[in-house]
């Protein structure tokens, strides 16, 4: 056996010992363990639901934003020559990427298609099309939509200029506001959970005062003494992530099953169950672990001075 083998062997043994110690502590502090895990659980359920909603809203907003186009309705009075001039003028604008001409026949077809069965009625208009020809303008940057639209509005023969920016901006505003409110709420909860964990660890440290004193006396290293407390915090945090993950998986599974079919055929989508739910689980476990380790770190630093 080489010395490195001896070393890894010792580390595995030490880790086992630390794990055993932390479990023992968890059991010994029954009620505090329960309280801490519950606090983490409540916190993470809220974090999880919030995260799921935010990520989906974000996804929707991003798809809409990417799809933002400006639809310029051309005045019926414009001749073909006028239209050509206008197209060139729009193309010359700095932030415009592409300009596409969509004749009124195509517009009507699109309208009929989008209305499905009810659209059949509009077929009557095929002889006498009341719609305008349209330029579909795309900007290089979605944020530029509004500026470009305003410039086009000033042009001759531009009868109506429409763009989806208003809606996207409203959606982003909503996301931002609810994100801030949510974050404040969650930070409060995170601190509560952390405080409870740190209190649990403090109780453990006090209960094991003599043991710690002897460890110091016989020459155990600081990290050896601290490890079980970090592990205890870690376990409290990770245990608190279990119920939220299971619950949110179920909820999202049903929500997805309900919403996804109803969005079919539209260009907006919600995030697919797989892999999204694994990302959610990873976030929750990581957050639980973080709360736990941080909580124990606070107590270890305060009550386990060298």
């Amino acid at each position: 056996m080489t010395s490195s083998e001896v070393n890894t062997d010792m580390k595995a043994r030490t880790l086992r010992r630390h794990m055993k110690e932390s479990m023992k502590n968890l059991g010994r502090n029954g009620w505090m363990t329960f309280a801490s895990v519950s606090a983490v659980t409540v916190t993470l359920i809220l974090v999880g639901v919030f995260f799921v909603i935010m990520m989906n809203l974000n996804q929707v907003a991003t798809t809409i934003e990417e799809d933002v186009e400006i639809r310029v309705h051309i005045d019926l009075a414009a001749t073909e020559e006028d239209q050509k001039v206008m197209k060139e003028k729009i193309e010359k604008l700095a932030r415009v990427e592409s300009v596409e001409f969509s004749p009124k026949e195509a517009e009507l077809d699109g309208l009929i298609d989008s209305l499905g069965e009810e659209g059949e009625a509009f077929k009557l208009f095929e002889q006498d099309n009341p719609l305008n020809d349209v330029f579909i303008v795309k900007t290089k940057n979605p944020q530029d939509t509004m500026t470009v639209a305003k410039e086009i509005e000033k042009m001759e023969y531009a009868s109506k200029v429409k763009y989806g920016q208003d809606m996207v901006e409203n959606l982003f505003d909503f996301i931002n506001v609810s994100r801030n409110v949510g974050i404040v709420l969650i930070i409060g909860l995170l601190f509560t959970a952390m405080f409870l964990i740190s209190n649990t660890i403090k109780i453990t440290i006090i209960a094991r005062k003599r043991e710690i004193e002897i460890m110091r006396l016989v020459g155990a290293t600081n990290s050896f003494i601290r490890w079980p407390f970090f592990l205890e915090g870690l376990m409290l945090g990770v245990l608190g992530a279990i119920i939220p993950i299971v619950l949110i998986s179920f909820l999202y599974h049903y929500a997805y099953g309900y919403i996804a079919p109803r969005l079919e055929g539209h260009f907006i989508q919600i995030l697919e169950f797989n892999p999204f739910i694994y990302q959610v689980a990873a976030v929750l476990i990581l957050l639980g672990a973080l709360i736990g380790v941080w909580g124990s770190l606070m107590s270890v630093r305060k009550f386990l001075k060298v």
Binding site: V6, M10, R13, T14, R17, R210, E211, E213, I214, M215, R216, L217, V218, G219, A220, T221, N222, F224, I225, V306
Partner: protein
């Protein structure tokens, strides 16, 4: 082995518990530290295993300059010093065997070696037959022997004891002293603070008397020198 040069210790509350101590203790010596209550005996001893740091002066143990020793290296120093107290500081939920093994487990010794060393040491302190008992099932003298076993199980070069017989009746105290003598005869340096006049005057060793944080007397095969 143990060297103190111009050591001062002033506690944060202003009490000066060491007031210019100079002493040299050689490997294998047996030293009693005597003096009235509050003289600074415990402080003298605590500075050796770096439970307290001197405010001034140098302490060298086993070639290690404690003033230059980083906090993170203190555990390594402690592994070479066995410490025994008046209250045995045993863990009540662990058996005799487990209490002794604890000292090796927490310094990550190999399991095979732990078993061998613990059994050897329990044999030395004559408690092999009570290895599975809990401390509460033992007499005071037996508990102190467990605590001694724990302090020497890692074969330290120095053993420090602060009034190890303070809680024991005279007869039991003699058992403990005989054990100390045996450990000393194996080459371990022993420094022991005590108020036990009988022991100091009968089992003769070097005596260092401290008063007001100063060494006022240091004699080979000395006497206790106080009415107790």
């Amino acid at each position: 082995m143990i060297d103190m040069q111009d050591v001062f210790k002033k506690y944060p509350n202003g009490v000066v518990a060491a007031n210019g101590i100079n002493v040299h203790i050689a490997q294998g010596e047996f030293v009693y530290v005597v003096g009235p209550s509050g003289a600074g005996k415990s402080t003298f001893i605590k500075m050796m295993y770096r439970e307290e740091k001197p405010t001034q002066g140098t302490i060298t143990i086993n070639g290690i300059d404690l003033g230059k020793l980083k906090d993170s290296k203190v555990p390594l120093l402690r592994r070479n010093i066995g410490v025994v107290f008046q209250d045995f500081k045993l863990l009540p939920t662990l058996t005799v065997y487990e209490n002794v093994a604890f000292a090796l487990e927490v310094i990550e010794e190999e399991p095979k070696k732990i078993k061998k060393r613990v059994m050897e040491t329990l044999d030395l302190v004559n408690l092999k037959h009570k290895a599975r008992m809990l401390p509460t099932e033992l007499s005071g003298g037996e508990q102190q022997r467990v605590s001694i076993a724990r302090s020497i199980v890692n074969s330290p070069k120095v053993m420090i004891a602060d009034e190890p017989t303070g809680n024991l009746d005279p007869e039991t105290s003699w058992d403990i002293m005989n054990l100390f003598d045996e450990i000393n005869n194996r080459g371990t340096t022993i420094v022991m603070a005590t108020h036990n006049r009988d022991i100091v005057n009968t089992m003769r060793h070097r005596v260092i008397a401290i008063e007001g944080g100063q060494i006022i007397r240091d004699e080979q095969r000395g006497e206790y020198g106080y009415e107790s």
